[in-house]
């Protein structure tokens, strides 16, 4: 049976051109059935365009894409009966109530009116939306909206769920709720492809991540591999007195032995600590740098050694473009 195929998604040289822009430029991708795959990239990177091609909404201009072994152009119908799409914007009708939206989708998927209503109520209960069932969706809060968007995608549980920026614009609590839902959906065997602008989110949810920029996959791997590829950490320093920044820059670059980046915040500096297999050595150097700052009489209000942010991953991946596609090896962790 094809439902047990190893790969939910396979693309080869997938391309989409809009005018003169190559919105998706030769993407090769394989997503294992039952996994969570994350697309990470800024606005306009091509994430949504890839999803739209995989969800059969947009015809590729070049290359091929298969979903559960079905071609996205020739076998679109077979794919549509196995996937669900939660778009970046409204994926439900804002004028209707939550209940009506779910009944509508239940009917469209072939349920009788009674079944559709039963399933809708079941989902509203499970997603904590029962009280808002008869309220128009436009009066929902952002978090409720997103929960309904996701409920709408599992009226019949799909084998593959596309989530396009599921948490953009949500407060931290709603974001956590959405994450929990995604985890629950995955436990039950659905493959999830999600796009996000936040490394944190990809880190929390995705088994593998593709970093996408200008329509290309510029790096692919687990979140650990991605972070390791840009260095074991980033040092962030914020000074009490921004006038001391030039001095601090000198001290830090000497102590850390790497170039120091001046942030747009006039009191902040950061540095990429070079990749080192021995993490404790990085810690030693960072501690040394802090001591040096204090010895030079530079007052520090914030000092942090953290995992690189998406900006930093991006900077690192785009500043040294050795190849279009950086294949990361397990050993780099």
């Amino acid at each position: 049976m094809d439902s047990h195929a190893d790969f939910a998604i396979e693309t080869s040289d997938l391309t989409k051109v809009f005018g003169k822009t190559r919105a998706v430029d030769g993407v090769n991708l394989t997503v294992r059935t039952g996994s969570v795959y994350g697309f990470l990239g800024p606005n306009g990177a091509g994430k949504t365009t890839i999803i739209r091609m995989l969800a059969t909404l947009l015809r590729p201009d070049g290359g091929t894409a298969r979903v559960f072994g079905h071609d996205v152009v020739r076998e679109a119908d077979a794919i549509r009966s196995r996937v669900s799409l939660t778009g970046q914007f409204a994926s439900v009708d804002e004028d209707l109530s939550g209940l009506e939206n779910l009944v509508l989708l239940g009917r469209l998927l072939g349920h009788s009116w009674t079944q559709a209503r039963a399933r809708a109520n079941e989902l509203l209960d499970a997603f904590d939306l029962a009280e808002a069932a008869s309220r128009q969706v436009k009066k929902f809060s952002g978090g409720m909206r997103r929960r309904l968007d996701i409920a709408a995608s599992i009226v019949v549980t799909p084998d593959l769920l596309f989530l396009d920026e599921p948490t953009t614009g949500l407060d931290p609590r709603s974001r956590n709720q959405v994450w929990e839902m995604v985890r629950a959906i995955v436990v039950d065997g659905t493959t999830v492809l999600l796009t996000t602008q936040y490394l944190d989110e990809a880190d929390q949810l995705a088994d593998r991540i593709a970093v996408i920029d200008h329509g290309k996959i510029i790096a692919e791997g687990t979140s650990g591999q991605l972070k390791a590829s840009v260095g074991s950490g980033a040092v962030h320093v914020r000074l009490f007195d921004s006038e001391q920044r030039p001095e601090a820059e000198q001290v830090l670059s000497q102590a850390l032995g790497v170039p120091v980046h001046l942030e747009s915040d006039p009191a902040a500096l950061s540095a990429q600590v070079a990749a080192s297999p021995a993490a404790h050595k990085t810690g030693e150097r960072v501690a040394h740098a802090l001591a040096e700052l204090s010895r030079s009489g530079i007052a520090v209000s914030d000092f942090a050694l953290g995992q690189p942010s998406l900006d930093e991953v991006f900077l690192a991946l785009t500043v040294h473009p050795t190849k279009d596609h950086v294949a990361l090896k397990e050993e780099t962790i």
Binding site: T49, E122, I154, V155, D188
Partner: protein, 303 residues
């Protein structure tokens, strides 16, 4: 609710998991069932946003009152007599103007993004549009009832009887359904719902005025009469007038209207479906819009 205090993670554990196992897929609905479901959706929208009809219904009501009382005496000798002439025309004008909403609704679905969900579902692909147009019949009936009701209050007496009025209404609905395919095309190529509204009104106003809705065209210049004679709205008004006032109609008049309806559907329904299937992206999803001749209207730069 008793569960208000539980955290979501408990909810996930206790209630979400069983709910997620709904993998058995019911059989795919047929084209009719899917379309009727979308028709139900359109009717629900009328329930929630009745005020969106205000502008299209307001105009015919204002025109009915204005023409009847301002010009009625001068045009037809008395306001009462003029109303007998005017009201079938107002009915046509109202329903024709309401048909713009077919385009506005479709454009709203696309700009908001919900049409992406419908397009990614395993349903008969024209169903969202066909269903919306079927649901629009509800809108037309509502508008027609208001106009005829107002007419009756003002003194309109349809001597063709109830059957004549219903037949006239049926003919008007058939024409409006066919005309709405023009607006679904506009809805697919315009950038915003309000652009659909403006262009729709700009197209429809000359069409309804350059007809026999308000006055008998005999005193008009020859070139204008020539246009009025081919304007399907004139034929529709003549047929509706005849049915409402006499209960009968010349087969030729009805034939003309049905022919025009068939032609509009044959031309614009396939065009609508072509544009719908090849839609590049939702308007808010990016800058990429299909740039066909619609760019002319929308002012969107030809890339």
């Amino acid at each position: 609710m008793t569960r208000t205090q539980t955290t979501l993670s408990q909810t996930v554990d206790e209630t979400l998991h069983p709910v997620l196992f709904a993998r058995s897929r019911p059989p795919r609905p047929n084209a009719l069932s899917a379309s009727l479901t979308f028709g139900w959706r359109a009717l629900l929208k009328i329930k929630y946003v009745p005020e969106q009809l205000a502008d299209v219904i307001g105009i015919p009501i204002i025109f009915t009152l204005m023409f009847t009382y301002l010009f009625g005496g001068a045009l037809a000798g008395s306001t009462g007599e003029y109303l007998q002439f005017l009201l079938p025309g107002t009915l046509v004008m109202t329903v024709v103007l309401v048909s713009i909403y077919a385009g506005i609704g479709l454009n709203t679905d696309i700009t908001k993004g919900v049409s992406d969900r419908f397009r990614s579902m395993p349903i008969w692909s024209p169903a969202p549009i066909v269903g919306a147009l079927l649901g629009d019949v509800g809108r037309y009936l509502l508008a027609s009832t208001l106009v005829i009701g107002l007419g009756l209050v003002l003194g309109f007496r349809p001597t063709g009887g109830v059957v004549g009025v219903l037949l006239a209404l049926a003919l008007v609905l058939v024409f409006a359904f066919s005309l709405s395919w023009i607006f679904t095309v506009l809805g697919l190529i315009m950038r915003t719902p309000s652009a659909v509204m403006s262009v729709g009104t700009v197209v429809l106003f000359p069409l309804t005025f350059a007809s026999n809705v308000f006055v008998n065209p005999q005193t008009m210049p020859g070139w204008l009469q020539a246009f009025i004679n081919v304007n399907p709205i004139s034929h529709l008004v003549t047929a509706a007038r005849s049915l409402m006032m006499h209960g009968t109609v010349a087969a030729g008049q009805v034939g003309w209207v049905l022919l025009a309806s068939a032609a509009l559907t044959a031309l614009f329904a396939p065009l609508t479906m072509y544009l719908y299937r090849n839609k590049r992206t939702s308007a808010r999803g990016g800058v990429w819009r299909p740039c066909t001749w619609g760019c002319w209207y929308t002012g969107y730069p030809l890339s």
